[in-house]
Amino acid sequence: MTDGILQSAPPLSPPQPRWQRLWIGLFGTPLNAAVTLGCLALLGWAVPPLLRWTLLDAVWVGPADRCADAAGACWAFIGEKLRYILFGFYDQDRQWRPAAAGAILLALAGLSGMPLFWRRATLWLWLFGLAAALVLLTGGPAGPAVPTERWSGLPVSLLLAVVGLVGAFPLAVLLALARRSSMGGVRTLAVLFIEVTRGVPLIAVLYVATLLLPLMLPAGAAIDKLLRAQIAIILFVSAYLAEIVRAGLQSIPAGQYEAAQALGLGYWQSMRLVILPQALRTVIPSIVTLAIGLFQDTTLIIVIGLFDLLNTARTAAKDPAWLGFYDEAFCFAALIYLTVCVIASRYSLWLERRLRR
């Protein structure tokens, strides 16, 4: 580039202060002013009624008939039904068990987010934690067994999502390796499984698991319905996770493969010690995004008649004593999903910045 062009360009204006840029954006041109006024009008139309419904006219405590007269939301309903929405049909006097199991699952997910815990020892932590959560939910050695039909609410959502992701992991890594393998037969099998699974909706996979899986077993054998849903979710997620892992494998430069080979490492050794640790680290943000989607997708088990958080919230509003408070129930469930997902996506953004450094 020659100096002549640069000199003929107008001098750069000094950087404007922040508030000035903000002002120009809001009212700088007639169009911007009109857009701003339009947005303000929209907010003015939507926000006051919403505020009145959620806060000002809301009923916070009291019986159902007090809510019937009020114009606002009936948060007393949530207070009354809180235990049902969170834990569903689980035995009333033993609900500390699903609460503890849910806390363990959340803690495991939270701890694994910290780079400090990205090491092999965390695997044992996971095995131990998952076993503890399952023992707590089933009733364990101490108490009477609680059948899975009574497992419901938030712990079920967490269980399906967390076990779905963790259970899919080994399968996904194998599928990703198979898809990049030089062996044509194995590669074709992996491609077929991944593409077919990604081509159908989760509901279809859930129906296959609930309707077809029992038929596929020898006569007399039966699998628990929740377990069937869990298997369907694991298989479904493994196809998506495999593609993420494959992207990670592709991002590793060929030199790493060659260096591992030069050190005399075999295929599995070089994968385990050199390639996979690097590949998985680069795709953690994508895995977090997948996990957020998976946590939301566990709601689909409603269509096969299982009770997750959304379903217990919905059926809470079917109680004759508190009939029809669907808006409140949905708002409460939405708040829980929103909290978990916003925290997770903020974490993913932070991680992406950290990994780029």
Binding site: G25, S182, V200
Partner: protein, 389 residues
């Protein structure tokens, strides 16, 4: 690589595909086949135990259940095959309408997100976060409850002249004669085809002046309208009117379909807005600066420099969001819209032909998916080629 792989020919190609380690591969393939065989034979034995004949003969039997809304003329005494086709068409209908509306809304929102107006961009960001952080099923339940909570026909909302919102659905004006609607659709399709052909021709001939553009537009609009008038179909438009307890005249969009469509569009538009934003932001700042240095005005920079490059990022992502919308339309089963999954579920429960119905369902989704991917890949290849030229 074995030396033989370098030779060409079908045998060498197969050998290259197969790779090495035949023993291991054969063992894995045999294991998968054995597993499939075991599951299959179990299924057949169980079906025999329940007295179900495997095969697709049940498709010819009368279905015997009602379907709330159908594009075809369907009655309960019609066959299962027709019932499944009605379900598939309902899925295609909501997916097509959803993709179209979500694209328009998503592009607008994506551009709004990038605007210098902090208030507008903040509002769009809030919308996107809210939609992306709550389950789609929850959103569908919300829209379904909203459409059911609309007032009765007597107190129907009237947001636009001739459009009524009530708990029986959305009432819209329509042609009094059904044939006119068909002709109108044909005319719109013809107009789109003419416009596309004209644009391609214009580009091939290298004529890009405004005059040829106007003539293409005029031909694309004028010809179909002339055809529509010449068809002789009566063109009176009927406006829905309250008669007794319900509306008569015009056309009705059911509350279930409305809730599903609105839910899917609101969800997909948020995703598409993010795709459009990231696509435009992926164009390096140097491209903007270079175009500005050439003296191009802002509008033409966007159209001639930034958008063609952004499209190469946007189109593959857009494909997957169309596929997602199509797959997400299966959530219809939870809010009572008779889509393919819903009809399949009823059929499987009634006949016990679980294996066959599940195969049909998977096959249908895979076909739709492949069709959408193929169409979008074709478009994407054209885009990529134009960039390379």
């Amino acid at each position: 690589m074995p030396p033989g792989a370098l030779r060409s020919g079908p045998v060498a190609a197969v050998a290259l595909w197969w790779g090495g380690r035949s023993g291991l591969q054969a063992a894995i393939l045999a294991l998968v086949l054995l597993g499939g065989f075991l599951l299959g034979s179990n299924t057949l034995a169980n079906m025999e135990r329940f007295g179900i004949t495997p095969g697709f003969a049940f498709l010819g039997r009368p279905a015997g259940f009602e379907i709330g809304e159908a594009l075809l003329d369907y009655r309960p005494q019609d066959s299962y095959a027709l019932a499944l086709l009605v379900g598939l068409l309902n899925t295609v209908k909501v997916a097509l309408a959803g993709c179209l509306i979500a694209t328009v809304l998503g592009v607008l929102l994506g551009v709004a997100r990038l605007s210098g107006n902090a208030l507008l961009s903040g509002l769009v960001q809030g919308y996107v976060e809210l939609v992306r952080s709550t389950p789609l099923l929850l959103q569908l339940f919300f829209w379904s409850a909203t459409f059911q909570a609309l007032p009765s026909p007597r107190q129907a909302l009237n947001p636009l002249p001739g459009v009524f919102l009530c708990n029986r659905g959305i009432q819209l004006p329509a042609f009094a004669d059904g044939r006119a609607g068909g002709w109108l659709l044909a005319a719109i399709a013809l107009a789109l085809a003419l416009a596309l052909a004209g644009t391609v021709l214009r580009r091939r001939l290298g004529r890009r002046d405004a005059l040829s553009g106007v003539s293409v537009a005029a031909a694309a609009c004028g010809l179909p309208v002339a055809l529509l008038l010449a068809s002789g179909a009566p063109l009176q438009v009927e406006v829905p009117e309250l008669a007794g307890f319900n509306f008569s005249g015009g056309t009705t969009v059911s509350p279930e379909f409305s809730a599903l469509l609105v839910g899917l569009v609101v969800n997909a538009a948020a995703m598409i807005a993010e795709i459009v934003r990231s696509g435009i932001q992926a164009v390096p700042a140097g491209q903007w600066e270079a175009a500005r240095a050439l003296g191009l005005p802002r509008r033409r920079i966007m159209r001639l420099v930034v958008l063609p490059q952004a499209m190469r990022v946007i189109v593959p992502l857009l494909t997957s969001s169309y596929l997602n919308l199509t797959k997400n339309s299966s959530l219809a089963v939870a809010i009572g819209f008779p889509d393919l999954v819903s009809v399949i579920n009823t059929s499987a429960n009634q006949t016990g032909q679980v294996l066959e119905t599940m195969a049909i369902m998977m096959g249908a989704y895979l076909t739709v998916n492949l069709a959408v991917s193929a169409a979008m890949n074709l478009y994407n290849r054209r885009l990529a080629a134009r960039g390379a030229r």
